[in-house]
Amino acid sequence: MRKLWSFPGGIRLPGFKQLSNSDSIRSLPVPERVYLPLRQHIGAQARPVVTVGEHVDKGQLLAEATSFISAPVHASTSGVVINIGSHTVPHPSGIAEECIQIEADGEDHWYPALAPLDNIDKATPTELRAAIREAGIVGLGGAVFPSAAKLKPPRSIDTLIINGVECEPYITCDDMLMRSNAEAVLRGCVLLQRILSAGQCMLAVEDNKPEAMQQLRKALDILIKAAEPGAKDIELVSIPTVFPAGGEKQLIKVLTGQEVPAGGLPYELGVVCLNVATTAAVYDAIFLGRPLVSRIVTVTGSGISRPGNYQVPLGTPIQLLLDTVGVIDGEAKLIMGGPMMGQRLPTGHAMVVKGTNCILVNKPQPKMTPMPCIRCGSCANACPMNLLPQQLYWHARGKTFDKLERYQLSSCIECGCCNLVCPAHIPLVSYFRYAKTELADQTFKRQRAEESRLRSELRQQRLEHMQREAEERKAKRKAARLTSKKKTVSTKVMASPAVENAPHSMQVSND
């Protein structure tokens, strides 16, 4: 047994997982229309390579990556591009962003040019990374960071961690993926380990998912028996169920005992961490030649009549998904993501995107009125980052930004633990989000002020310089005049160039 560490704080939550993990993954009928945002990832927005009216096949490139940290977008079904323009995207404010809209032809026909990578066993890490990048794969755990960029860390990696923890209540999409397609996950692990040439690979699963673990064990045994290269290096690790054990920093701590430096990234410890769904998507891209065009989405909650996991084409309107699974309560709230870190969506107009792991619809609950903080310290005990949420709360209220920085607000991962254990029902996470944007705004303003101070200082210097020059010239002229009284004829000739020069030099220094 591997020695496991624990992270500070954390809470034990009721899972509500049995709501959605009793049936196998179901598929949806092809939607009539899909809306594919050009930005479903962290980084630069993709650039469309198709035009309105063009017919596209499923898996065909619609928009290409525009920088190192960016990801392409592919058609999630076959049909005609009918619009490239703004459409509501899944965001709490209901904002609209650039989307490619496809009217499906119902054929769901794969793009014929798609093919598995040639000679996979001999492919170099660069080739594999390129294939992953072209497949539009991003972190499917919710962070949506382009995976190819993550797989090119600036230093050597010795530990690859595959995250199958899925610590949020209600969500079971990774659980169901591991149960139904353990082989793809494991083969994906092998590929990723090859790309990173990492010495060890750990696949971590919370101990509340014994079925998933069993399937992984079985699949791993088969791979090892078949002498699949790399399979014997994969280690399956069962970890205790404590929220947020699936947070990247927390998981790395649990498995390695190391802490990702504040403000730093896991590669600094020689660790790269990817989600199981991402790993399976890598398998699909390399072995099947299929770009990321659909994902498993958990649709669950007390407001859903047929909760379960669905293989959903990207860009499917959430409302369509809800209509298919049946919403019991019209008043129910729509949440994208889990109950701890998810976001409330104002409408179902938005679509399923690469980062949509869960659609949660719960019957409305009475809103708790916040009471004053009684400084009980439950929040600090629950904080997995060892912060003092209560102090941060006071300073966020008081807008004492220097204190917020000193108490390291930036380390807050917004997991919601403090918020949930607060007996006064203070919306701590909302305060921290607010304070973070305020802090960023402050830093921005401070930078601008610094720049303008620098500019004005330089201007002052130039003015002083000019004044000095003018005085020197004046002194020279004076001196010249004095001498001219003695040498009358030559004076005018000497003085005139200096006078002509003056406006010219002013122009130059004013630029």
Binding site: M371, I374, C376, N386, L388, Q391, G416, S430, Y434
Partner: protein, 354 residues
């Protein structure tokens, strides 16, 4: 412009799971945890603690409601949060049992109006309201504050509930009973005056007000509070840091004295189960609003109270020192919190000092 803080509090954001704790529940559990101590108190000393509780709770609720109305705050959420009732209970249990009604009324007034509401109400008071009121009463009414009851076992004159109420209202005892017959200085008081007169601890402890480990009767009340405190620890309503540090520091102080000179110092157990130690350690020092909040801060805070309690008991002018110790250490709490910030996850060094 609308207040962004208002928007934050009204916004619907994660987590979307209903919390299982609330302030009222925490306060109520603390009050329930006082019950073993209260029952032992009544068992050994008669109905006196009960009359104290009745007057204190009624007046505290009245003053709380009055102040909330004046401050235009919603009445029900704050009256039902149990904080005023808890303050009243702690005050009632700190004052001599069977105290006159006006003493408790005045105490509640000081605790709720001055120490709590004028500072901004629940969560904003820098001092423990019950202890602030106790300190003011002790200084202002030394006579009333030192009239403690003898355990029933000694005088065998049980006043019934009606007699007890009558006495607290008009200071009239039933015929044939004088107040002197049922009252006495506390064991701690006796000890202090006795050692002051040159008597040895062992001689002093022969007096009937002393029991097996501490005061006759009071030691069992202490045990009752200890049980309630352990229940709070078990329910994770309080953390172990403050009570353990407090009791340990007090025991070390007393133990050191006892080792040096057992004629002048009592053994540590006497200090732990005598006076208000257990009530203070588990119910008063652990008041989160006025205590330090970080783990290390709590240890220092608790230990400081333990040391001060012994210092006041042994060298001070007052027989017991829990109230003053709690108030004094309460002043250090903000500073302790500032100097004991825990290392943030992933931070290289201690994040900052000062």
């Amino acid at each position: 412009m609308t207040d962004p803080l208002k928007i934050i509090e009204a916004a619907e954001s994660a987590p979307f799971i209903s919390p299982t704790v609330d302030v009222g529940r925490v306060m109520r559990r603390v009050i329930y945890a006082l019950l073993p101590g209260i029952l032992a108190y009544i068992w050994f000393f008669g109905w006196g603690p009960l009359t104290n509780l009745v007057y204190a709770v009624a007046s505290a609720l009245f003053f709380e409601a009055l102040m909330l109305a004046i401050r235009q705050r919603p009445l029900w959420p704050f009256l039902s949060d149990g904080s005023a009732v808890l303050t009243a209970c702690l005050l009632a249990l700190s004052l001599p049992p069977m105290a006159p009604w006006w003493l408790l009324l005045l105490g509640s007034f000081i605790a709720i109006v001055f120490a709590k509401q004028l500072y901004g109400g629940l969560g904003y008071n820098p001092f423990n309201p019950a202890m602030a009121a106790y300190a003011v009463l002790l200084i202002s009414f030394p006579l009333e504050m030192s009239q403690w009851l003898l355990p029933l076992e000694i005088h065998d004159k049980l006043l019934n509930l009606a007699d007890t109420f009558r006495y607290t209202l008009n200071a009239q005892l039933p015929p044939g009973i004088t107040f002197d017959a049922i009252s006495s200085a506390t064991p701690l008081d006796k000890l202090r005056t006795g050692t002051g007169l040159g008597q040895t601890v062992s001689d002093i402890r022969n007096a009937p007000v002393f029991g097996i480990i501490a005061g006759n009767g009071t030691e069992w009340v202490g045990v009752g509070y200890l049980l309630g405190g352990l229940a709070l620890l078990g329910m994770r309503i309080i953390s172990w840091h403050i009570p353990v540090a407090l009791l340990l520091a007090l025991a070390v102080m007393a133990g050191t004295g006892y080792l040096i000179d057992p004629q002048q110092h009592t053994d540590p157990l006497f200090q732990l189960f005598g006076g208000a130690t257990m009530l203070g350690a588990f119910f008063i020092a652990t008041d989160p609003v006025t205590a330090a909040t970080s783990a290390r801060g709590k240890l220092i805070y608790g230990a400081g109270i333990g040391v001060l309690v012994y210092a006041i008991r042994f060298w001070g002018a007052y027989p017991d020192g829990v109230a003053f110790a709690v108030l004094l250490m309460g002043m250090t709490a903000p500073l302790l919190d500032q100097y004991t910030v825990p290392r943030v996850f992933g931070a290289r060094r201690k994040s900052w000092r000062g």
